[in-house]
Amino acid sequence: MKQKYELRLYVAGKTPKSVTALSNLKKYCEEHMKGEYSIEVIDLLVHPQLAEGDQILAIPTLVKKVPEPVRKIIGDLSNEEKVLVGLDIRTRKVS
């Protein structure tokens, strides 16, 4: 069945940044969209050919496939605010 949020996290091996990113992501998802998401982790060291499809440059990259529009969040996802804005869960703050 289709989830409201389909997320893909691209990593390259178990680097500290990737591990941090994954744990951060899981934490935010549990907090804000419990039961509405699926996370797919792609290790580019294993499947390098997959990097092209989603135009991956930076590692780690989180790609939100659904809902549209497609967005990419790069980095270890340490800034919760930015991640949530990136995932369109929270609107960008007008400061």
């Binding site: 691209y10 390259a12 680097t15 940044k17 941090t20 990113a21 580019l44 060291l45 390098p48 050919q49 990097a51 092209e52 135009q55 991956i56 440059l57 930076a58 590692i59 780690p60 990259t61 529009p69 497609v70 967005r71 990419k72 969040i73 790069i74 980095g75 270890d76 996802l77 340490s78 800034n79 930015k82 991640v83 804005v85 990136g86």
Partner: protein, 587 residues
């Protein structure tokens, strides 16, 4: 401790920097063999200067000529766009991709899609690149404007660190890399890529002078090797990029002592040794309508008759025009064009800058490999450059032609005396032979006088000849040197006529004298005849008197005897005696 000098043999074991030829005509000569193998090369320049094409040609030529697969990472254009853009150059990127000789990877970075949070690195790029390289075993890699990363990602600190790591990683991979970069305001590239790529930097430039654009290339830096440091013009045409190679710095061309006919017997004779030296250059200058093109046409015609390939660069007339016009002096150039011995290369001087002309000429000559080349006229090139520019261009052209042992004829139009001297002198020091055609104005008509001003290494004629163009072609006629000076054209004809008349008159006079003599002799002979007749009649007269006297004497004697007889009545015996007495008397 005294320092030991380094001897050449100590350095013999040192190998030179390995190089990867680009396959771009001319560039490998400028860089002394190509780009540094296994190292990155930066190509930078303003928009539209040909960076992408340059990089792509490096990859395609690498596949075509050197069988080295290549990866093209495009940050700007999509693969199908790229393929379309270069299809006109005959590069079939799709086919090369199917053959696994080429891989084009389009990397798109869109700032609006990307949110940055926290630490990251560009491992994804490395993986993609590594995957692309490994999948086809690439030896050549192009990163077409990697600077685009700076537009998409805002964390410059990470980017710079990652770029440094990227170039190091590429070096380890052993691939030869071209990185293109947009020209910055003060630096070579906007993001200072030259900081990371320190092995070889080539700057492309697209300059417009007097509304005419010229593309130039300069090797700013090339570590560990000699390279040409000048700006070299390059051309982008339907066959891609060609760079004009270095003017060789040495004057050590091989020379030939063979001669090449100019196609005009009289001119060959005037130059000495029966023509021009093979591989030499000749300048034909003259005012408008003095037949420069005709001389040039007969030069190529003669070459074609000898079954030598020749090339005619026309900057003024179209090929068809030249062919038609030369028909009128009995030169059939069309048949040579049809047989492929003669090729015309016509272009407007204003089409592109001088340097581009030079590149185009180079290319055409390299392709057609002629033995004889004509440039008609070089003075038209001055419209796109100054006299000194033209000179420097011709120096390089002559240099190149000499190296190829091609004989070249330039024609130059002298507009008026001031420019004439300038141009001719500017160019004349470069050429081996210089023929000047001058109008000689006299008695209300113009005639062409041809001078050989110089002919290096030959004892040329110092005579002025009259140059005549008629239906049969070109001819050189000795001018008439009379008591009134040099005569040409109809004055020469008139003088000739005058001489002929004189000759006729003279011979006439002589024959009249002869006749007079005959007549006189006849008269005298007649007189002699009459004298003789007179003499005969006088003689007759004299004889008559004598006879008469004799007869008279006889008759008188007889009469006297008869009278005596009658008187004395002498006997017949007596009369006989008498007779004998008479006889004695007579004795």
């Amino acid at each position: 401790m005294p320092q030991k000098p380094i001897l050449p043999q100590d350095l013999a074991h040192l190998t030179e920097l390995p190089k990867t030829p680009t396959g771009i005509p001319g560039l490998d000569e400028v860089t002394n063999g190509g780009l540094p193998t296994g190292r990155p090369t930066l190509i930078c320049g303003g928009p539209g200067c040909g960076k992408t094409l340059f990089a792509l040609e490096f990859i395609v030529k690498g596949v075509d000529i050197y069988n080295e697969p290549g990866v093209f990472i495009a940050f700007e254009e999509k693969p199908d766009e790229l393929a379309k853009n270069v299809a006109s150059l005959g590069f079939d990127l799709d086919k090369l991709q199917q053959e696994k000789k080429l891989k084009i990877d389009y990397i798109h970075v869109d700032k609006t899609e990307i949110e940055e949070t926290g630490e990251y690195d560009l491992e994804g790029l490395f993986i993609r690149l590594g995957y692309a390289i490994d999948s086809i075993g690439a030896k050549r890699v192009v990163l077409d404007t990697i600077e685009n990363l700076f537009l998409g990602l805002s964390n410059e600190g990470i980017l710079r660190a990652e770029l440094r790591r990227l170039f190091g990683w590429l070096k380890d991979k052993g691939v030869t890399v071209i990185i293109t970069g947009e020209k910055g305001e003060k630096t070579l590239t906007r993001q200072g890529l030259e900081e990371y790529v320190s092995d070889c930097v080539i700057v492309l430039d697209h300059r417009i002078i007097n509304q005419i654009s010229t593309r130039r290339l300069r090797v700013v830096k090339y570590r560990g090797t000699l390279h040409g440091t000048n700006e070299y013009p390059f051309l982008i045409d339907e066959e891609g990029i060609s760079v004009l190679p270095v003017t060789s710095m040495k004057l050590n061309k091989t020379v030939s002592t063979d001669t090449v006919s100019t196609g005009i017997a009289g001119l060959n004779q005037m130059l000495g040794k029966g023509g021009l030296y093979k591989g030499s250059s000749i300048l034909i200058s003259g005012t408008a309508g003095t037949g420069k093109t005709s001389i040039a046409a007969s030069f190529v015609n003669a070459a074609c008759e000898r079954k030598e390939r020749s090339m005619y660069f026309a900057f003024e007339e179209s090929p068809l025009q030249i062919v038609r016009n030369m028909n009128s002096i009995g030169l059939d150039l069309k048949k040579h064009v049809d047989s492929g011995l003669l090729e015309f290369f016509a272009s407007r001087p204003t089409l592109y800058g001088l340097e581009m002309h030079l590149v185009a000429i180079h290319k055409a000559i390299r392709k057609f490999k002629p033995k004889v080349v004509v440039l008609d006229p070089i003075t038209n090139l001055i419209t796109v450059g100054s006299v000194s520019d033209v000179k420097s261009m011709l120096v390089r052209l002559i240099d190149f032609l000499q190296a190829e042992q091609i004989t070249v004829m330039f024609t130059a139009l002298s507009l008026n005396t001031i420019v004439n001297d300038q141009t001719d002198e500017g160019v004349s020091s470069l050429v081996d032979a210089w023929v000047l055609i001058k109008d000689i104005e006299m008695n209300g008509e113009r005639n062409r006088g041809l001078y050989v001003i110089k002919s290096r290494g030959m004892s040329h004629s110092s005579q002025i000849r009259e140059f005549v163009i008629n239906d049969d072609g070109l001819n050189l006629i000795d001018v008439y040197l009379g008591p009134d000076g040099v005569l040409t054209g109809s004055a020469r004809e008139a003088q000739k006529l005058l001489e002929e008349t004189g000759h006729v008159l003279h011979s006439h006079a002589i024959s009249r004298k002869d006749r007079e003599l005959i007549r006189k002799r006849k008269v005298l002979e007649a007189r002699i005849e009459s004298l003789r007749t007179e003499f005969e009649s006088a003689e007759e007269e004299l004889n008559k008197v004598y006879f008469e006297a004799e007869i008279k004497k006889d008759v008188e004697g007889q009469t006297r005897q008869k009278i005596t007889e009658l008187r004395r009545g002498v006997q017949p015996e007596q009369s006989l005696n008498k007779k004998s007495t008479n006889k004695n008397k007579g004795e």
